[in-house]
Every structure is written in C-alpha cells, then in structure tokens.
Symmetry: C2
C-alpha cells in the first residue's frame, strides 16, 4: 500500500518542508487540481527535481484531449496523471497512450461517476494503472465517504489496481486498509493538521 | 452573439499577437485547459492586463471544490469560469457563489453529459450564466458535432443562455448561427488557420 498526500492548500515551500519532514513516509506527492489551476506544471517540476525518489502525481483531472494534456504533465516530470472516469473512452485511452510513451501511469478518478459497476468494468479494460474512487470535497459535508465505492470497485477490477480518496482521516483509514487499496490518498487530514509531518507518519503507520 | 476564441495551442506571445490583430472581432478570449495545465493562471493575468476590454474565460473545467477553484480563476482576472456539467450539483453551485462574489460569470460545460435534457433542466435552475454544449476534441474525429445538442439545450433552457463548442468551423458556423447561441466558441479553426486573425474576422462576420 502506498500513501499519497494531496497537496492542495499549501504553498510550494510548505510542500517542500512537509516532504522533507516525511521522507520515507509519503510515497506519492499529489499536486492537487487547485494547485495546477493556479500554477500549472511549476509545482510538478519543482517537486520532481527536489524529490526524485517520490512519485509525483499531477491531479489534472483530464476531461478531453487526453493524450495532449497528459503529455504536458508527463513532460513536466509527473509519474502519474489523473483522467476523469466521466470523460469519453477516447480521452482515457489517449491518457494511456501518453503514459506508455513516457513510462508513466494513469489514474482514473471516478468522482461523480453514476454507474460505478458498469463504468469500472469498461475502464478496467482500457489499460489504466489505477481506478480511484473519490468522494468529492463538495459532497463530503453531506456525510458521504468512499468506503462503499471502494468495495464496489475492488469487486469488479481484474486488471487495474484500486485507489481511494475523499476525506480519508485517522477515524476511517483502518476500515479502508482492511478493505484494501493499492493507493490511499490523504489530503486535508494531513495538510490541515497542526503538525502535518507527524500526521503523515501516523497515517503511514496504519497502512499495510 | 459573441465570438469566443479558444487559445489552446499557441504561445502567450502568439495569443497576444492574435488578439491585437483581431481587436473588435474577438469578444471572449478563452485560456484553454491545456494552457492552464501548463501555465496555471499566468495567461489569464497576462491577457486580462493587456486586453481589459476583452472578456477572459478560464477553461478550468472545474469538477470539485467549485467555489475554491473558481475563486482562484476570478482572483486572477477571469471574467468567466467553466465548471463541468458532469460534476456534483454542489460543485456547480459553489462556482455560482464564487461568481456572485467576484461579479463574474459561470459557464457550465456539458461535455460528456449523457442525460442532456434532464441535466440541462437541473443546471438551468442553479443560477449559471451559460450552458455550453461541447463535442469533445477526442470524439470529433468520429464525426460528432454539437448542433443537435445545441438544439436540445435551446429547447430546454429558461434562465441560462446557450453556448456551443467543439469543432466549429466555417463549414458549420452558419447552421449554428441559424439555430442560435449567445456564445460561439471557435478553437482550432482559428488557431490552426494559416492566418488566424483573418479567420477570426471572417468567423465574426458570420455571427448575428
């Protein structure tokens, strides 16, 4: 299991400090969508140069022009790029083509996918590396969490590995670990913690 | 009717040159998604400072954290921000809240929406400014175009205005104009033309 830390609300210097203090605990550093909207590929380049041993995920949430947009992320140094599960098949396949060219990986973000079983089955055949269940930030306050969706995806996938994101915290991580996922994404619980580095280490301690 | 030019594949200097040469013809300059993925809000800031009289659209294709991400775009100087129609209702409503704070506008991009009639009806009640039918770049090669979807949306909306994007070119623009839309988005047909400025002027001449 890998711990992915979503860096959404920190400055680039705060990200560097966090990753310095958590060396060996954070496997994947996610440059979050708001970070990309604000600064493009600058954080991806900066973090990859500084931490070549950590996998960098560009959470571009690609919705169209799959190959073209993924190329930009991989060219900047990303190891993993996200494409949306609600996008057209051709977009996901374009992301996979780009990944193959760059020796990178594609994570499909299943956020807001309605027909989860059917769509997971389809995407699982497209050569993607990860299928990530994801409770949107905007609906977490409604009491939604990703565990049930993770169970659904785990019961369907035969090729891809599963990942899970969306409000994962200390109170919920053990149930998720027990269900199983290759990547567990933690954002706010680490970035908004009083001591983010200590929280990252503690979260990593819960993984198998 | 307004002409929106999608700037996806040009450098920032090429964008400036194009907008200089087409003053009075391009109503809305779109900073396209690949441009944002690469450079974040830099092109939005640069173009807004240089062309305060042109509306700048940030094609962020927001899928989550609607208010937070839209805030970043409006703070950078965007006049219009895109949110995805396939996102959760709360995300679209967050985009609208952000727009109201900033005196900006929200365009909902209906790319890959399956249940177009039903989803248009729902979104039309959320206070968004534009509902944009959009044939994905990745499926244009399959022969898809947005005219039929535009007719559908026009027949449903009661509050928002319609917009149309996805492979619009000289051969198809007259049918779209005849159907009617507040905003017509043209990307490749202008940016990849031998003389982009001349093509923008010609396209604008077809609008009502």
């Amino acid at each position: 299991m890998k711990l992915q830390t979503a860096l959404d609300t920190l400055t680039i210097q705060q990200c560097i400090d966090l990753l310095e203090k958590t060396r060996g605990y954070v496997d994947i550093a996610e440059v979050g969508t708001p970070f990309i909207i604000e600064q493009g590929m600058v954080p991806v380049k900066t973090l990859k140069e500084r931490f070549p041993e950590i996998e960098i995920l560009a959470d571009a949430k690609i919705m169209d022009a799959g190959e073209f947009e993924a190329d930009k992320c991989f060219d900047a140094g990303a190891d993993i790029v996200t494409v949306l599960g609600v996008s057209n098949d051709e977009t996901i396949k374009g992301g996979v083509r780009s990944a193959r060219k760059h020796n990178g990986k594609v994570m499909v973000d299943m956020i807001a996918v309605k027909n989860l079983v059917e769509r997971t089955r389809e995407i699982d055949l497209m050569g993607v590396d990860y299928i990530c269940v994801h409770t949107a930030f905007d609906i977490q306050a409604l009491g939604n969490d990703p565990l049930e969706e993770l169970k659904t995806v785990n019961s369907v996938i035969e090729n891809a590995s599963s990942a899970v994101a969306g409000g994962v915290k200390l109170a919920t991580i053990d149930d998720i670990v027990a269900e199983g996922a290759e990547i567990i994404v933690v954002g706010g619980a680490i970035c908004n913690a009083k001591d983010p580095a200590a929280m990252a280490r503690e979260m990593k301690g819960h993984l198998k």
